[in-house]
């Protein structure tokens, strides 16, 4: 009985936090008002203040988490709707994603080698730009730590979304395709969700870039690591 109540409370609480912040975000549209960013901070704060463990929260949270898989499946729908345009755009998307992936993996290795962090941290952060399950698998296969990899993926996702308006401005990326490829390559599904809020074509391009990036990074990450380290 008690666990049902706790579960219900965390589901209703998460939905309430999400929908409130979502409405707020629609009005002010600031990167820091993103539901995933502000919402997660708010929920973490509530849990810490009331000394509730993550496991307790996940009694209900797991129900929402379970829908993450079907939510990713749902991304095929915008892809389908944009299919004719995407066929035309495949070469720019593939080239952009490939060079982005090389830049991401090699800059991760170079910068962390420069600072001098432990090898297992490097292995965990190298696949940060791809969706969590893939990046965990890549990190694990190279000798990284899976939970660390998951954290770096979240930082790349939310950080990328927050930085995106500035990155696009500084590097003069104003084309909807360029922005979509950038979001999907750098910030995987979190970036794609954000791109989808703005524009369906950009979101679909981001979806394609995200899927391609997962495949490309899982091939080039072990190769570049053995080459550069």
């Amino acid at each position: 009985m008690n666990s049902i109540l706790i579960g219900l409370l965390s589901i209703v609480g998460t939905l309430a936090v999400y929908s409130t912040i979502w409405k707020l975000h629609k009005k002010i549209m600031l990167p820091i008002t993103l539901p995933i960013f502000l919402g997660s901070i708010l929920i973490v704060s509530v849990l810490l203040v009331f000394d509730i463990s993550y496991d307790t929260y996940m009694v209900g949270g797991e129900w929402i988490n379970q829908l993450l898989g079907p939510a990713v499946v749902a991304l095929a729908y915008p892809l389908y709707q944009q299919r004719h345009l995407l066929k035309e755009l495949i070469i720019p998307i593939v080239c952009g994603t490939l060079l982005g992936a090389v830049a991401g993996v090699s800059s991760g290795i170079l910068l962390s080698g420069w600072i001098g962090v432990d090898d297992f941290i490097i292995y965990s952060l190298v696949p940060k730009s791809v969706t969590t399950p893939v990046s965990m698998a890549i990190a694990d296969s190279m000798g990284g730590v899976m939970s660390l990899a998951a954290i770096f993926v979240i930082i790349a996702g939310i950080g990328g979304v927050i930085m995106s308006p500035y990155v696009f401005k500084v590097f003069k990326i104003d084309h909807v395709i360029g922005r979509g490829v950038g979001m999907g390559s750098a910030s995987h599904a979190i970036g794609t969700a954000h791109a989808m809020e703005h524009d369906q074509l950009g979101g679909s391009v981001s979806t394609v870039a995200m899927v391609l990036s997962a495949v490309i990074v899982s091939i080039i990450a072990p190769a570049l690591v053995s080459l550069m380290m």
Binding site: P70, V72, P92, S107, L111, I155, V167, S185, M196
Partner: protein, 123 residues
């Protein structure tokens, strides 16, 4: 009421496809996650007309529009790692952010350059 049951049905369809994707992933021991395999399968079903758009539209739209909601519980999990946020880890977070911005800039610029080149040729 009818709309709600329709949406629940749509979500159930997505869930079954997701489970199928997981099954494919486990059977062939693939590195691509089950959800991504499910997405590709769903896309093939839509393209070949095995699944009609009208069968899944409302629920699917709802999911796509509120995708970030489903990431919140996993993100909250960061709270279990609060204590590792020491000075070196902050450096590492900095590296992750710089590298992420770099990926975004390069991927964006390359694709934009190619697209502009293509649009120019079309004109």
């Amino acid at each position: 009421m009818l709309k709600i049951s329709k949406i629940v049905f749509h979500i159930a369809v997505l869930y079954v496809i997701f489970l199928f994707g997981n099954l494919v992933q486990q059977t062939f021991n693939l590195f691509v996650p089950g959800s991504v395999i499910g997405m590709i399968v769903f896309l093939i079903f839509l393209l070949t007309g095995i699944i009609k758009v009208s069968w899944i539209e409302e629920g699917t739209k709802l999911f796509v529009n509120h995708l970030t909601l489903f990431f919140i519980p996993a993100t909250v999990g960061v709270m279990n790692y609060m204590e590792i946020f020491s000075a070196t880890v902050l450096w590492v977070v900095g590296i992750v952010l710089i590298s992420t911005a770099l990926v975004m800039a390069i991927a964006g610029m390359v694709s934009q350059w190619l697209i502009r080149k293509k649009e120019f040729q079309h004109e």
